[in-house]
Amino acid sequence: MEKVLKKGHFAFTGELGPPRGANAEEVRKKAAFLKGNVDSVNITDNQTAMVRMSSWASCLLLIQEGLEPNYQMVCRDRNRLAMQSDILGAYALGIRNILCLSGDHCKFGDHPQAKGVFDIDSMQLIAMVKKMRDEGQFLSGGELDEAPKMFIGAAANPFADPFEWRVYRLAKKVSAGVDFIQTQCIYNMEKFRQYMKQANDMGLTEKVFILAGVTPMKSVGMAKYMKNKVPGMDVPDEIIKRLQGVEKKKQAEEGIKIAVEQIEEFKEMKGVAGVHLMAIEWEHKVPQIAEMAKVLPRPKLE
């Protein structure tokens, strides 16, 4: 993915949620839909605070299948010691991309009474990986033997309030040392255009690759749920109306159409370096979406 972005190609990344169990086949099955259709695949880390197969282990399964993983790491479940040792191990085993996240609060998950760690926050995690990579040092300043040359990513939510602050928070991640950003799923295009304009004006897009987040809607129900129940999500009424405008059976198709139109616009949008497609539990639709969005074939770079 690093090469794709640095060579100036429009990147296309996917996402895969590991199973709630030790089922490696499940990971391989989902990976098969993504192979050849994306540059790399985010592997979530106990997403929504539900216990799942560890991100690094699922990343390895992907490498075995010939895909490139983006190792997601949240600050909720590990302290700085565990994080650093996992980063070293992941790199030693061939993982090259890391995505630094705060993580959803434990309250949302299957162990709501667990103690959230948050020893460091996502911003500090970015800086820590950068320090390990560029200075060959642990957070403590101690020397490490062979630096993990990770390509460092983070998430950004352009829509959570205060909206005026969001681009400054992006700037903060850039100064902490992030190489690429994947945004929260975008539905409010107008707001995103504003956000990108600010990012361009502040010169941020020259320092960081921004991948626009896309999640196709499967139904009106999903759109309403995202609008009302998911914190920090901005779903304009037009999207819901458009989905309501077609028969129930055709809503999923319409959702994909909307996503494809978005991707077309992102290709032209100044400062957007690629798209991050989050089709969780819809991996089998990725080949179709990639085809329709005309992002195939993916560049092969050695």
Binding site: F118, P162, K172, P231
Partner: protein, 227 residues
């Protein structure tokens, strides 16, 4: 002030199960102000326990005492002559007071009747909100006087996270987002620059038991404890 809430009666009954004579000690300071462990609450709990045990045909005698501050040796000394006749002590003070009581009378089982919940402000009668986790290195100077350690559900130093929802925290629409408030307050003061800067990983001060000796008092500590 330090606030606490009373333990459920079932849990307290379970703790005193094997005893017939227990002294319940209240505290006249924080827990009294927050209506959980003062003289009045000691009497109420005692009456409840005695009643419950009487119904079970297994009476218990609950003694009552209340000291000005259970976290202060001087006041605990008032109990010295009293505890001998009891099998166990119960305390309605905060966790600090309960431990100091146990330390003073190491031969007696000491049972907590309250759960200490934190350092809080009084918002209204009987309504308390936590404000400080005594982290040991206060950041209020650059966070607009709003504590992210306590009031942000993730204790972030570089917030807000992506979960802010119309000014609420992602955990609950009723819970204001601390970082949203920090932003608003600093914006109002024209001091947003303070949070544009990256704040590096925190050096946690609360990972070992802490002892505090104010400057000028080192010597008193060295000469040992006085009773």
């Amino acid at each position: 002030m330090i606030v606490a809430k009373r333990k459920p009666i079932e849990e307290i009954k379970e703790m005193v199960k094997g005893y017939q004579k227990v002294l319940n000690v209240g505290c006249g300071t924080c827990v009294s102000v927050c209506l959980v462990g003062g003289e009045k609450e000691v009497n109420i709990l005692n009456a409840e326990l005695e009643m419950a045990r009487k119904m079970e045909d297994n009476p218990i005698e609950m003694g009552a005492a209340s000291v000005e501050r259970q976290c202060d040796r001087e006041f605990l000394a008032e109990l010295d002559d009293k505890v001998g006749e009891y099998e166990a002590l119960m305390s309605m003070a905060c966790g600090v007071g309960i431990q100091f009581l146990a330390e003073r009378f190491p031969d007696k089982p000491v049972l907590p009747a309250v759960d200490t919940t934190g350092l809080a402000v009084n918002q209204d009668v009987g309504w308390y909100e936590e404000r400080c986790r005594s982290c040991g290195s206060c950041v209020l100077g650059w966070t607009g006087g709003i504590c992210p350690v306590t009031l942000c559900a993730k204790g972030l130093y570089n917030g807000p996270c992506g979960g802010t929802n119309n000014g609420s925290c992602e955990i609950d629409p009723e819970q204001p987002c601390a970082w949203f408030k920090i932003y608003e307050r600093l914006a109002g003061q024209g001091r947003l620059d303070l949070i544009k800067e990256f704040h590096p990983a925190n050096a946690w001060q609360d990972q070992v038991p802490r002892t505090l000796i104010q400057p000028g008092y080192e010597k008193a500590e060295a000469t040992g404890q006085k009773t």
